[in-house]
Amino acid sequence: MKLKFTRRNFVISTAKVMAIGLLAPTGALAVTKLAFAEDSSQQNPILKQWAGKEWNFVVDTAKCIGCASCVKACKKENSIPLDKEVYRTWVERYLVYTNDEVRIDSPRGGLEFQQEVAKPEKQFFVPKLCNQCQLAPCIQVCPVGATYRTGDGVVLVDRKRCIGCGYCIQACPYSARFLHPILKVADKCTWCYHRISKGMLPACVQVCPTGARKFGNMKDPASEIVALKKKSRIRILKPDMGTEPKVFYIDLDEVVK
């Protein structure tokens, strides 16, 4: 039978091609999804790794002495150039004077604090890092899905997928993100995911001499941070942004943004 080129035939064959074109990938996706669902946490190594874990971070601001060992340790551990103005974690100093004047600084992320001449009424340090938000704006805005949240509650960047557009840097209300000066992809604190996956502590927690930084698993009843969160008065940063941060601050002053 010879097919005549009529409008009717054209519409029918176009519809056929489109249907196949749509069904084939959708079907493939469905099959993959099914296979993934069957492969429950018992078999899948990644799901197994995540099972029973929900990482949280607690900062006790009253204990921080501003030594910035954490800043240095972080840069070394994660190969972030020491001489560049990019920080996965930093320490802020707050000097509150009697006349309601607040002076804040964090010279080179806290590595180069200078003695202040005028004595403030109160003075304290606040370490900052990525809040690993439950509702992270950086994940929402990434145009290629290079940034994602792991099952155990850490926001990561896939360096092989990131196109370096910087939209996530704009979207983060905490300015926790930066463009890696050498790799030219978005970068930020991962709570040292490579360490915590092996049962170690993040580098900054490890080196903190006063125990101002606490890290642990909320699903482990014996974890120190479960008890800390229960008994302390805690605050999160910028709650109005609706990002549900997972870094909790003990004794956080109202002036801290």
Binding site: E85, V86, Y87, W90, E92, V102, R103, I104, D105, S106, R108, G109, K128, P137, I139, Q140, V141, C142, P143, V144, G145, R161, C162, I163, G164, C165, G166, Y167, I169, Q170, A171, C172, P173, Y174, S175, A176, R177, F178, L179, L183, K184, V185, A186, M241, K257
Partner: protein, 395 residues
């Protein structure tokens, strides 16, 4: 730098290339809307520019993705936003919206120029003939019925093009307006403000280009067309300015937590580019000069000069507006306690010189397109040795 800024904010991340991106797409949207005023709304006074403004939109559209591409940390992965788009991201739509619009513009151009292309192919020789023959895509029927069909298709495409142009540029506004972390960007008015300033910049561009092109070709400007451009620019400028002022007024009147920082930004940190260049030279002066330029008492020469001058001022003002949004928004530290500083560079990859080159790149592109497809109605001049009867088209 003043006050406290977060250590990661010392360097401004989105720089001059990202200022160019909304500027160029805005010019595209504006030029397209102007061409649609003739093709869809039948504003016949714009006939001399109807085809030229479409080609202008096309030339700028070709160049629109370049600033984005050069800005990326990983330019080789640029196409990933279309291959693996993350659908909750406003930016993921760029590739699709841009491609849709490019296809639309190319189609409209082809249908609009098809008769000319066929005639060029028939009357030329050698390589030129081959080139135009390929451009016909085999459709060589220029009977009155076929041309009537072309005309209908152009009208449909131009009609689709208006919401598409609005979407293309409103969407650029959404990219900024949806960032809740940035106090100066985060407003639902942003897409509408971007859209109207785009229309304004497109009309202003056509005013300046029309004047320049008639000067180069030693032709006379068609005054009714030019005065209509003047009038539309004035109206669009009023609308755009009201919206921009409304945004600031609203923020100031509500006086929320972030207002002192925004006030400080506008009156201190970008006061030159905001108060003087954008609002003074880019809005106030043209708002006064444009009606004067329409006055019946003035000579034609003065009218044209005032209108052209206003167009150039508006173009500069809109560029300043893009700067004030893109860079200005990033100067406010998210700590809400200080401002970072923008360090101007000349030659680095987002320096003034490469950015100027990218900004002017659409003009040579336009020159080439105009050479291939002369858009002037009612003239018998085409490329060398070709004398097709273009005068019969489009009437």
């Amino acid at each position: 730098m003043s006050g406290y800024v977060f250590p990661n904010e010392i360097e401004v991340h989105w720089r001059l290339l990202i200022v160019l991106y909304p500027y160029i797409t805005g010019l595209v949207a504006g030029a397209f809307i102007l061409s649609s005023l003739y093709h869809v709304f039948g504003r016949s006074e714009f006939k001399p520019l109807a085809r030229f403004s479409l080609l202008t939109a096309l030339a700028f559209l070709f160049c629109a993705p370049l600033p984005l591409l050069f800005h990326l940390g990983q330019p080789l992965r640029a196409l990933n936003i279309m291959i693996t788009p993350h659908l909750t991201s406003a930016m993921a739509g760029f590739g699709f919206i841009y491609s849709f619009y490019l296809i639309l513009c190319l189609l409209e151009t082809w249908f609009l120029f098809r008769e000319d292309i066929v005639k060029f192919a028939a009357s030329s020789k050698g390589f030129v003939k081959l080139f135009y023959t390929i451009l016909t895509l085999g459709a060589k029927d220029i009977s009155p019925e076929a041309l009537h069909k072309d005309h209908k298709i152009v009208t449909v495409l131009a009609t689709i093009g208006i919401p598409a142009a609005c979407f293309l540029h409103g969407y650029v506004g959404f990219i900024f307006g949806s960032i809740k972390a940035n106090a100066w960007w985060s407003t639902p008015l942003m897409p509408i403000i971007f859209l109207w300033s785009a229309t304004v910049s497109g009309v202003a561009l056509l005013i300046v280009l029309y004047r320049a092109v008639t000067w180069i070709r030693r032709q006379k400007i068609e005054l009714p067309c030019f005065m209509s451009l003047n009038f539309y620019l004035w109206i669009f400028l009023i609308i755009a300015t009201i919206l921009e002022l409304l945004e600031v007024l609203h923020m100031g009147y509500e006086g929320k937590e972030e207002w002192p920082m925004i006030r400080g930004l506008l009156t201190n940190h970008i006061s030159l580019s905001y108060l003087v260049i954008q609002m003074g030279f880019g809005v106030l002066l043209p708002l006064i000069l444009l009606p004067i330029g329409r006055s019946k008492r003035l000579s034609v020469e003065v009218k044209q000069t005032l209108t052209t001058l206003s167009g150039a001022l508006v173009l500069m003002g809109v560029l300043a507006m893009r700067f004030n949004v893109v860079i200005g928004g990033q100067l406010i530290s998210k700590s809400m306690t200080g401002y970072t500083a923008y360090d101007w560079t000349l030659f680095s990859n987002e320096g003034i010189i490469p950015v100027m080159i990218l900004l002017l790149l659409p003009l040579p592109v336009l020159a080439v397109i105009v050479r291939v497809l002369p858009p002037w109605y009612g003239e018998l001049k085409g490329p060398k040795e070709i004398v097709p009867n273009i005068g019969a088209t489009g009437d």
